[in-house]
């Protein structure tokens, strides 16, 4: 399956949790989600949407452990590789 990219993540974030106009979502790979305005419920919704759309199941800890976009992308792509 195609790699899950930062652009994909940004699209899901906007759909599942919204985006504030004041936050620039470029160049955010290592910015903690909390600094981007996303709390645990926002991440829960985001991870849930990715799992649903990609047909994968990620470990429950993903929501708390993937604290930056890079960590979440890694977790998702590991999940995709495992499902392939």
């Amino acid at each position: 399956m195609a790699e899950f990219t930062l652009d994909d993540l940004i699209a899901v974030l906007k759909e599942a949790a919204g985006a504030d106009e004041g936050v620039d979502l470029d160049d955010i790979l290592d910015v903690p989600f909390t600094d981007l305005g996303y709390d645990s419920l926002a991440l829960f919704n985001t991870v849930n949407t990715i799992e649903r759309d990609r047909g994968i199941a990620l470990p429950d800890e993903t929501v708390v452990e993937a604290t930056t976009p890079r960590l979440l992308l890694d977790a998702v792509n590991r999940g995709l590789a495992k499902a392939a």
């Binding site: 985006a19 106009e21 849930n48």
Partner: protein
């Protein structure tokens, strides 16, 4: 006892966006009632509503949109207007010094309907995690509190259409106990199929299709109420605390309040509205002759209108006080209706004018001095606002200049 004044008002109503637009429309007799447009009402018993349509992206941060019901978005808009009107920014006040009390009737009903539809039509993976709180009765209190950093007393009251006055009274108590600033009132409403079904099954909603003939409280041709959405949120403070932060202007005082509950049906005892009025007047230290205008509950159900008209006549004497129902231009806004009447009453005190009731062509109660069609200039120093909620709730609030 500590005096409590209203230093800021925020309004969203079917006939006006923001305080001044609502007030101008209300004085001009412009109604916001129209055919229900949110969904096809043809399979339902009612067809007219007071809608507030707007583009949320233009008024709220994007992060809030996936997690909010329509009525919560409206509440956030009204809260921001009220705080700006009061010149207050709770985020820079000491922590825990500002709080929120809102009233609700059903929470974010439409949000819940949307998620249930997703659950049954697509499956559990399509249900938003925000369902956890977006449907919930206290959600407006929580969202307002978070957005504005108001970590003082926070609560929500549910008393159907009477709860908005109870929220203001509870906020008054918090101010008396030392909280510097309270935001209180209600913005409510739910115009989705599921809630429409519930509302219309109550038997109190007008089945008429003509927006000018659907909601006719105190009229011989009354056929029920019309549901709407919107309401008002108010900033309450002790005047000396408001002055400390440079705010010297206020709209008026919350001078008296009482809430009662009706006896069980068949008991033979009278409903509790009279007791609510008497007790609220006593709380304000006023007599009936001190009240210059009454904002009626005005249910539009003939039997309830008669009960209210008889109580008003008994307390104030036949045609003893001007009575009005500007909600004829908005519909009944569930918990939001009474705080909107409070906003209208404060603006009436400010501008020395009683806003009219509209569309009422055949007054059914000769003892009622109903202000109809045109605003009535009057020297006003005090107003009484009444609200009743389905199931037996009665609340009365006295405002003075």
């Amino acid at each position: 006892m500590t005096e409590v004044v209203v230093t800021g008002v925020g309004v969203v109503a079917p006939n006006g966006w923001g305080v001044e637009e609502y007030w101008a429309a209300t004085l001009a007799g412009r109604s916001g009632l129209g055919p229900l447009t949110r969904f096809d009402s043809s399979g339902y018993r009612a067809h007219v509503a007071g809608e507030v349509n707007f583009t949320p992206e233009d008024h709220l941060p994007g992060r809030l949109l996936p997690q909010t019901d329509h009525m919560t978005r409206l509440a956030l808009v009204a809260a921001a207007e009220a705080l700006a009107d009061a010149g207050a920014d709770p985020a820079v006040m000491p922590d825990f010094s500002a709080g929120v009390v809102t009233a609700a009737s059903a929470g974010g009903f439409e949000f819940g309907q949307k998620e249930l539809r997703a659950l049954w039509s697509k499956g559990p993976a399509y249900v938003s995690a925000y369902q956890a709180f977006a449907w919930f009765y206290p959600v407006n209190t929580g969202q307002i509190s978070i957005r504005h950093g108001m970590r003082g007393p926070g609560s929500a009251l549910v008393a159907e259409q009477a709860g908005g006055l109870d929220a203001l009274a509870k906020a008054r108590r918090h101010v008396r106990e030392g909280t510097a600033l309270m935001l209180a009132g209600a913005v409510d409403g739910s115009l989705c199929p599921w809630s429409w079904l519930c509302l219309t099954r109550s038997g109190t909603v007008s089945p008429r299709r003509d927006p000018r003939r659907a909601f006719l409280p105190f009229d011989a041709d009354a056929s029920g109420g019309v549901p709407g959405e919107g309401g008002a949120l108010l900033v309450l403070e002790a005047p000396e605390r408001a002055a400390e932060r440079g705010q010297h202007r206020h709209y008026g005082r919350i001078a008296g309040y009482a809430a009662t509950f009706d006896p069980r049906p068949g008991s033979g005892r009278p409903p509790g509205l009279r007791r609510a009025i008497d007790t609220a007047l006593a709380d304000a230290g006023l007599g009936p002759s001190d009240i210059d205008v009454v904002f009626a509950d005005a249910s539009g159900v003939a039997e309830q209108d008669r009960a209210e008209a008889e109580v008003l006549s008994a307390v104030f004497g036949p045609r003893g006080v001007p009575v009005t129902a500007p909600k004829t231009m908005t519909g009944r806004l569930l918990a939001g209706g009474a705080p909107l009447d409070v906003a209208a009453a404060l603006l009436a005190l400010r501008d020395a004018v009683i806003p009219p009731s509209v569309h009422i062509a055949q007054p059914a109660h000769r003892d009622l001095d109903l202000v109809r069609d045109r605003p009535r200039p009057a020297r006003l120093t005090s107003a009484l606002v009444l609200a009743r909620g389905h199931g037996g709730f009665n609340s009365a609030l006295v405002l003075t200049r």
